[in-house]
């Protein structure tokens, strides 16, 4: 089953896919452009993993890590399907990252990897932008690069884990203005979903609603205001985002 959350006609609704777009829980069928898409789950702690595909690690000139490179995100960073994301003026290198998002379904502590997948409630698609202009080498990637308001998109659907036969065999891709710029497969993760749950739960408690963004393969390129960026994972979803400049976002240009 696939479930989403949207705002429509003054209220928040659960919904599911429909051939014409989506079907609200009250039965109304709508086009996906008629609603405001919220994140498909209410967020707990949001983890992200850096350099988790061997090819992307090479692309960024880093050695293969001995343990996962983890960082955290705040709630303000995360927005839903069809959001507009601000690309600040004066920035030289802002790139998308298509990622498989893992949503934890039950409390996990000290879970070995061979028992880890039943702790997953579902999967979604993430697009985790980075603005590399702001990269600094303290607690890197620093929050100014990776925890910017509206720069991490999640959705449109939460797909039940039981409907995903093998989370380590999913093709993913990113298209910018319709042209495919990134291709990969979750089989190339350095630390797979089960290993990430084992690692995280070895030192902290994971709770329902916690989300793990599992990293991105090679093929990240700069994107510009006006670009439509579509991150897609087979069987999970197709997540659309549009970049806007400061004026279109509603801000005067930076001082």
């Amino acid at each position: 089953m696939k479930r989403g959350r949207v705002a429509y006609a003054g209220a928040i609704h659960g919904c599911e896919p429909h051939e014409r777009g989506l079907r609200l829980d009250d039965g109304r069928v709508l086009a996906e452009t008629e609603v405001v898409w919220l994140t498909p789950v209410e967020l707990g702690t949001v983890f992200a993993v850096g350099l988790n595909y061997a090819d992307h690690a090479r692309e960024l000139a880093s050695a293969k890590p001995a343990e996962p490179l983890l960082f955290l995100k705040g709630f303000g960073a995360v927005a839903g399907h069809r959001a507009t994301t601000r690309r600040p003026s004066g920035v030289e290198f802002m790139h998308y990252e298509c990622e498989l998002a893992v949503v934890i379904g039950r409390t996990a502590r000290h879970v070995p990897r061979d028992q880890a997948l039943p702790y997953v409630g579902g999967y979604s698609v993430a697009n985790d932008y980075a603005i590399r202009d702001y990269l600094e080498n303290y607690y890197r990637p620093n929050l100014r690069v990776k925890n910017r308001d509206g720069c991490t998109l999640l959705g449109p659907w939460l797909v039940d884990a039981t409907d995903v036969a093998d989370p380590q065999n999913l093709a993913l891709r990113t298209a910018v203005n319709g042209k495919i710029t990134q291709r990969g497969n979750t089989r190339d993760m350095i630390f797979g979903v089960a290993e990430l749950i084992e690692y995280l739960s070895s030192f902290m408690t994971l709770a329902p609603g916690d989300v793990i963004l599992t990293g991105t393969p090679q093929g990240v390129v700069n994107v510009n205001a006006g670009d439509e960026v579509v991150t897609e994972i087979d069987g999970i979803g197709r997540l659309v985002n549009t970049l806007v400049d400061d004026a279109a976002f509603g801000l005067a240009p930076a001082r």
Partner: protein, 225 residues
Amino acid sequence: MRYPDGIERPPPPARQVCGALLNYRADLAGLGERMRAAPYQAPPRAPVLYLKPRNTWIAGGDPIPLPFNAQRLCVGATLGLVFGRTCVRATEATAAGFLAGLCVINDACLPHEVIFRPAIEERCRDGFCPIGPSGPMPAVGLAASWRMRTYVNGELRGDWCTGECVRSAARLIADVSEFMSFHPGDILMLGTPRDLPVATAGDRVAVEVEGVARLENPIVREDAR
């Protein structure tokens, strides 16, 4: 919310907790030329930040679990700035107006020397963020200065003040809210120095922000695995 000792208690009144590293001038002086060498390459420009996720939050009196494979943990008092209004792109002059109050936090971590990568394993352990009660803003707002003290078993082991900070509370709010909004219930910590008191299982740790509040927690050994 189920706490590390297995007991259900109401969660501390927080929505999101963010802290600042290297916000004390002595820390920058101590790193000195090392900040120009690998892996750091340059002194920090923007605030160095980290998040303390919800599994770390506990209240006064709750046990802080010492991980079964650790000998000691670092503890330290810090001032928590508690937001009462949505805060986006504040300035130093407007920063205080977004706050509902102040609180004391014991920002615990496992010792770590290298600060190149986010210290998730060191900072995000269950129970590593005891959060004290929130007090009101003083009449002078953020123009006041605060003294933060840390006690282990009643002995004063840490003593620092906001006057030693690289960024004042108002400056920190302005610099962080430039890219990351705060909402009611969010807490921004001013941070602790890097050279922190250590404590171990059986110890009682108290932290206080003078004029704000005091918070005390025991450290207990986590069950072996």
